[in-house]
């Protein structure tokens, strides 16, 4: 019986399936890499903008707060980073009692009244305590 040279249909289909699988896996890795890279860029952008808001906030250059709750002492600022910027920020200041780091062990428990600031820009959230 003469055997025809070449691949059978099954062999050809299997080869195509394997090749396609390899290409798809490579494309998937590449897509994930691109997404991660874009995500890193977005994080960098948010951190950069949060830094700009922080610089303005601690220098008193954000202006008066948009809302102040006299009872709780909570104040809020919001706006865009600059006159022409499309990036939006929000800052919230709330009072917080914190253990006095300078108290001696013999002293009664004493607490300091501080302010907790929370800055939100994009997906970045920065929080810090400050005495002012």
């Amino acid at each position: 019986m003469r055997r025809a040279a070449g691949f059978t249909l099954l062999e050809a289909v299997l080869a195509v399936v394997i090749l396609s699988g390899a290409v798809m896996a490579t494309l998937g890795i590449r897509a994930r890499s691109m997404i991660a890279s874009e995500r890193m860029q977005a994080v960098q952008r948010d951190e950069r903008d949060a830094q700009a808001v922080f610089d303005m906030l601690i220098s008193g250059m954000l202006g008066p707060p948009a809302r102040v709750d006299r009872e709780t002492g909570i104040a809020e600022w919001s706006g865009t980073l600059s006159a022409s910027s499309s990036r939006v920020y929000a800052v919230r200041r709330s009072p917080q009692l914190w253990r006095d780091p300078l108290r001696t062990p013999t002293e009664a428990e004493s607490e300091l009244r501080l302010w907790r600031y929370e800055i939100v820009v994009g997906e970045a959230e920065v929080s810090f305590l400050w005495h002012r």
């Binding site: 195509v16 890279s37 860029q41 303005m56 220098s59 008193g60 250059m61 600059s82 002012r132």
Partner: protein, 228 residues
């Protein structure tokens, strides 16, 4: 007489082979096309990321340099301070003496100038100009350059989409949107962020640079004198 064997020799492909070949070619072509498109997108994305990274690098270096700025007060008996390098905010950028050099690596102190050069159509370039400071005094500008290269420059951003410079401080007469602080007598104008105008400002406490570059936006704030 022996019968002649009739051999039927047909050259060509069977229908199944043709269909299979077409299917394989179509699959390979579609994968190739997808790869080509992705490569194009990746190239564009990489270009944009590269530009975003460039903005990040410029911002980081500017902040580092600004944190290393120096205030050069004149000596008590030195009345002439004309040549003394100082922090200057203007509508074209910012100039300040700093201990962090970029282009003159050996210089202990340099004058850094970030200069915005406007183009037509709203676009702008950002130049960095650095001069070494070696002597202070009335003719420092001339003497400090003697024997040294006067300045080196570098284009940091070419054809940025827009570049805006705002100042923080009391408003000048042209600042129409200036708010007034009613808690302090009602007449005192409240400091804020304003565009630079022709009229000279009484004082500038800080400057804010907003740049758009290839779809990326960055805001850099330089505070010379906190208002708190």
């Amino acid at each position: 007489m022996a019968p002649i064997a009739k051999r039927s020799t047909r050259f060509g492909f069977t229908l199944l082979e043709v269909v299979l070949a077409i299917a394989v070619l179509v699959a390979v072509a579609s994968l190739g096309s997808a790869l080509w498109t992705q490569a194009g997108d990746a190239s564009l994305g990489a270009q944009q990321r590269e530009r975003g990274l460039k903005l990040q690098r410029i911002g980081t270096f500017l902040r580092d340099q600004w944190s290393q700025r120096r205030v050069l007060d004149p000596l008590v008996d030195d009345e002439d301070e004309a040549g003394l390098p100082r922090i200057v905010f203007s509508e074209t950028g910012v100039t300040f003496p700093t201990a962090k050099a970029m282009l003159f690596g050996d210089a202990p102190l340099v004058e850094a100038r970030y200069e915005v050069r406007r183009r037509s159509g709203g676009r702008a370039d950002l130049w960095y100009i650095e001069s070494p400071i070696t002597r202070f005094g009335s003719d420092a500008a001339v003497e400090s350059r003697h024997g040294f290269e006067a300045e080196r420059r570098e284009v940091l951003l070419l054809a940025a989409g827009s570049f805006e410079v705002e100042r923080y401080g009391p408003p000048v007469a042209d600042d129409e949107d200036a708010e007034r602080d009613e808690t302090e007598g009602g007449a005192r104008p409240r400091p804020g962020w304003f565009a630079f105008t022709d009229a000279g400002a009484e004082r500038n406490d800080g400057v804010r640079l907003t740049v758009r570059y290839s779809g990326e936006e960055a805001v850099w704030v330089l505070v010379a004198r906190p208002s708190r």
